[in-house]
Amino acid sequence: MEYANPWQRIMRWVTTTNHKDIGTLYLMLSLVMLFIGGGMALIIRGELFMPGQQFIDPSFYNQMITLHGLIMVFGVIMPAFVGLANWQIPMMIGAPDMALPRMNNWSFWILPFAFTILISTLFMNGPAPNFGWTFYAPLSTTYGPPSTDFFIFAVHLMGLSSIMGAINIIATILNLRAPGMRMMKLPIFVWSWLITAFLLIAVMPVLAGAVTMMLTDRHFGTSFFNAAGGGDPLLFQHIFWFFGHPEVYIMILPAFGVVSQIIPTFSRKKLFGYGSMVAAIAVIAFLSFLVWAHHMFVSGISLGAELFFMYSTMLIAVPTGVKVFNWVTTMFRGSLSFETPMLFAVGFVVLFTIGGLSGLMLSIVPADFQYHDTYFVVAHFHYVLVPGALFGILAGVYFWIPKWTGHMYNEAMGKWHFWLSVIGVNVTFFPMHFLGLAGMPRRVPDYALQFTDFNMVATVGAVIFGFSQLLFLVNIIKTIRGGKPATDEVWEGAEGLEWTIPSPAPYHTFQTPPEVR
C-alpha cells in the first residue's frame, strides 16, 4: 500500500478494521511480549543457576515470577491465538471479515495500554506486583504493594479485550459461514476457537469479579478475603481457580485446533475421528468448570470435595486421551513428511502428552499432597504451556505464514529452530520433575544444596531455548521481506478454503461467498 506520509502509515494500523491487519497486530504484540516474558524467565533461571543470592534480591525475584507468568499467559499465549483466529477464521469459513470489525479494532488496541500499565509497575516507587500470577489473598490485598492497583486495572483491561474478542469470534462463526459450510463441516481449528470463545465469555467476568473484590478489600473496607472481617482467604482461591482452570483450556484448546489442521495436511490423510475430536473439545470445556478445586487439595477443603474434584479431574484424561489417540491414528498409515509445521505439531503431541500424564499424576489427591507447589507442578504446567500451547502457536505460524506473506519461510532455519527448541525445552523442564519430587518448592529464589545439579541443567536448557527463539524472529522477518514465492495451495496435502485464495491473501477475501460442497 502507498502512503502519502508516515502519519498515514501509522494511522492505518491504529484505525484498521481489517481482520488480517488486526491478526498481524495481535501476533506482533505477542511476539514482543514473548521476548519480554522470556527475558524475565532468563533472569529467573540465572538467579537459580546456583544456590545463594546471585544478582537479584528475593524481592525482585518475586516481581519477576509474577510478571513472567502474567505476561506469558495474557500477553503471549492468549493474544497469539486471537491473532491466529483473526487471520484464519474468516478465511477458513469463507467470510469477508470478522462480524464486528470496529469492536475488533478496540479489542486489540486495549492490550498495548494494559501491558504498558502492567510493565510500568516495575519502574514505580516500591515493588511491582510480587505475589505470583495467581495473586492469592491476603498476600495481594492487605499485604500487596501499592502497584497492585495498577495490576488490577491492567487485568480489567485484558479481560475486556478478551471478552470483546470472544464475542466477535462467536458472532463470526455463527453468522458468516459460507453457504454449505455446515457446523459439522467446520475446520477443527474453527471449532476449537468457537468453544474457547464461550469459555472466555464465561470466565473472564469471574476474573474481573475477583480483582474488583480485591480492589474493594484494599481500599473500601470490605472483607471478602479477610477472615478478621468475616471473609475467607480461600474464597479468593475458589473464585480465582473457577476462572483459572478454564483459562488453562483457553490456552490449549486453540492449540489442539492448530495441530488438528497440521497433522492431516502433512499425513496426506483425513483427520481421524472428526466427530469425536469436536466432542472431545466440548467435553473438556464442560469438565473444565468442574475441576477448579484440584488446585486447592492441600488448602483444607473437605474430604467430600477432595474426592469429587479428584474424580472429575481424572475424568478429563478421557477426552484428552481421545484427542491424542486420534492424532496418532491420523498419522498411522499416512504418507508423512516433516516440514517445520509438522515437526512442531509432532513435538506438540509428544510433549503435551508428557504434560498430560504428569497432570494425571497430580490428580491423585494423596500424591498431590507431595507434588503440590513444588517444581513437579512447575514442570507439569510448563510442559503443557511451552511445548503445548507455544509449540501450537509456532506450528500455526509456520503453517500459515506462506499464505499471509506470499513467501515460503526458510525451511532449514525452521528445522534448526525446532530441534533447538525441543532440546532446550526438555533440558529445561524435564529435570524440574526430579527437583519437585526431591522436595524443592516452587517460587523460591534460593535452594538447598542437593538441588544444585538439576537447577544448573535447567538454566542451561533455558538459555538454549531462549536464544533459539531468535531464529524464529529472524526467519519471520526474512519471510515478511521476501523469499521463495508460495503457491496458492502452499502445502501438498492442504485442504480448506484458505488454500483456494491467492498467496499472499488479498487484503479483502471472499467478498462474494464461496460455495462449499
Binding site: F272, L307, V318
Partner: protein
C-alpha cells in the same frame, strides 16, 4: 564438583530411569518413601500412577514412532483412506475409563485414611508467620518460634554453605515417635504451607482458619521441609525442621525445656557488652533478612537502620516501633515473638552498631515495664 555430580546423575537417570525401576525408586531423584504410614501409602500410589503413565506413554509413542519411521512419503508410502472407526473410538474412551476407576479406588482409600484425625495422642498447633513458624504444644504449655538459622553470610556467598543450607532452624519442632499427633495449622498473616516430605504432610496455613492434619512417625530422626506457599519476600527462607525422638528422649526434652524457662533471671542488669553480643546474634536471626547484616536495608520497603532517624532518635519511639511494628508496612511487631532479653539486646545493638554510636543500653526490665503498661 557440582558438574561431576551432574554427569554421574545423568548416566544414572538414563540407566536407572529406563531400565532399573528399583534403583530409580531409591534415589534422590524420586519422592522420599518417608517415615510415616501415610507417606509410604502416598509413595506407593505415586509409583503406581507413575508406571501406569509410563506404560501408556510407551504404547502411544511406540505406535507414533512406527508411523514416523515407516509411513513416510519419502519411502514412497501411500496414505490409507480410513478416517473413522466407531469400535476403535469407543474402545479408547472405555479402556482409559476403566484404568482410571481402578486407580481411583486405592487413591480414595488413602485419602480417607489421611483425613481421619480421630484418636490422637496429643496436639501441636503450627502457626505461620512472615517468615518463621511457631509451635505450641497444647498439652504441655510449651510454645516457641522456629527461625532459619543459616547465616546471611552464607546466603550472600561470603561464607561457604553448610550441608543443611536453608534447611536448618534454631529450634526444631520436637515430636515423639509412635504417637498419633494432631497438627492444627493456621497463620498469623498471609497463607503459608507447612510441608515435610518425609512425613507426607503438607497443609496450608490460612489466616483466620485452623486446618487439621496428623502425623505418626515410625523412626527417630531429623526431617526437613519448607514453606510451600508463596508468602512474601522470604518465602524461600522459612524451613521446617522436625526432630523425632523416642518417648524417653522426648520426655527428657519436655522437662529440660520447662526447666530452662524457669531458670531465666528476670531482674538481672545486663552489661552493654552482654547486650551487644546477644543483640548481634538475635539481629542476625530476626532482622537481618530485611534490614541486612550491614544495617543498610533494601530499597524503600526495608529502610536502612544505619544512621537512621529511628535508631539515632528517642529510645522510646525506637522500642515502640520494634514492639508493635508499623501498620501497613512490612515491619511487624515483635512483642509476642521475642523475649524481653532479646528485644532489649536487639534495640541496644541497633543503636550502637554500624557507627550509630548513641551509647544507649536498653535493659530487659525497661521492655518489661512497657509490656506491663500495654496490658493495663
Amino acid at each position: 564438583m557440582a558438574l561431576r555430580g551432574l554427569f554421574k546423575k545423568l548416566t544414572f537417570i538414563v540407566g536407572g530411569f529406563c531400565f532399573f525401576p528399583a534403583l530409580y525408586a531409591e534415589s534422590a531423584l524420586n519422592m522420599p518413601r518417608g517415615v510415616t504410614p501415610v507417606s509410604r501409602d502416598i509413595f506407593d500410589l505415586h509409583m503406581l500412577i507413575f508406571w501406569v503413565c509410563v506404560v501408556i506413554g510407551i504404547i502411544v509413542f511406540a505406535i507414533m514412532l512406527y508411523a514416523i519411521i515407516f509411513h513416510r512419503k519419502s519411502r514412497g508410502y501411500k496414505a490409507a483412506k480410513f478416517h473413522d472407526h466407531i469400535t476403535v473410538e469407543l474402545a479408547w474412551v472405555i479402556v482409559p475409563f476403566i484404568i482410571l476407576v481402578l486407580m481411583a479406588i486405592p487413591a480414595s482409600k488413602v485419602l480417607i485414611k489421611m483425613n481421619d484425625t480421630n484418636h490422637t495422642d496429643q496436639t501441636v498447633k503450627i502457626t505461620g508467620y512472615q517468615w518463621k513458624w511457631r509451635y505450641d504444644y497444647l498439652k504441655e504449655d510449651i510454645g516457641f518460634f522456629s527461625n532459619l538459622s543459616t547465616p546471611q553470610a552464607q546466603i550472600q556467598g561470603k561464607e561457604p554453605k553448610g550441608p543443611y543450607y536453608l534447611l536448618e532452624v534454631d529450634k526444631p519442632l520436637v515430636l515423639p515417635i509412635k504417637q498419633k499427633i494432631r497438627l492444627l495449622v493456621t497463620s498469623n498473616d498471609v497463607i503459608h504451607s507447612w510441608w515435610v516430605p518425609q512425613l507426607g504432610v503438607k497443609r496450608d496455613a490460612v489466616p483466620g482458619f485452623i486446618h487439621e492434619s496428623w502425623v505418626y512417625i515410625d523412626e527417630p530422626g531429623i526431617y526437613r521441609g519448607q514453606c510451600t506457599e508463596l508468602c512474601g519476600i522470604n518465602h524461600g527462607f522459612m524451613p521446617v525442621v522436625v526432630e523425632a525422638l523416642t518417648q524417653a528422649d522426648y520426655d527428657k526434652w519436655i522437662t529440660g525445656h520447662k526447666q530452662q524457662a524457669q531458670q531465666a533471671q528476670p531482674d538481672k542488669t545486663w552489661t552493654k557488652e552482654e547486650l551487644m553480643t546477644l543483640g548481634e546474634k538475635s539481629y542476625g536471626t530476626y532482622c537481618a533478612v530485611c534490614h541486612q547484616v550491614n544495617g543498610e536495608g533494601m530499597g524503600d520497603i526495608y529502610p536502612a537502620l544505619k544512621k537512621s532517624k529511628i535508631a539515632l532518635g528517642p529510645i522510646k519511639k525506637h522500642i515502640d516501633l520494634v514492639l508493635h511494628g508499623v501498620q501497613g508496612t512490612a515491619m511487624q511487631g515483635f512483642i509476642d515473638q521475642l523475649t524481653d532479653d532479646e528485644l532489649a539486646a536487639i534495640i541496644t545493638f541497633e543503636r550502637n552498631a554500624w557507627g550509630n554510636d548513641t551509647g544507649d543500653a536498653v535493659q530487659p526490665s525497661d521492655i518489661r515495664k512497657l509490656r506491663k503498661g500495654d496490658e493495663s
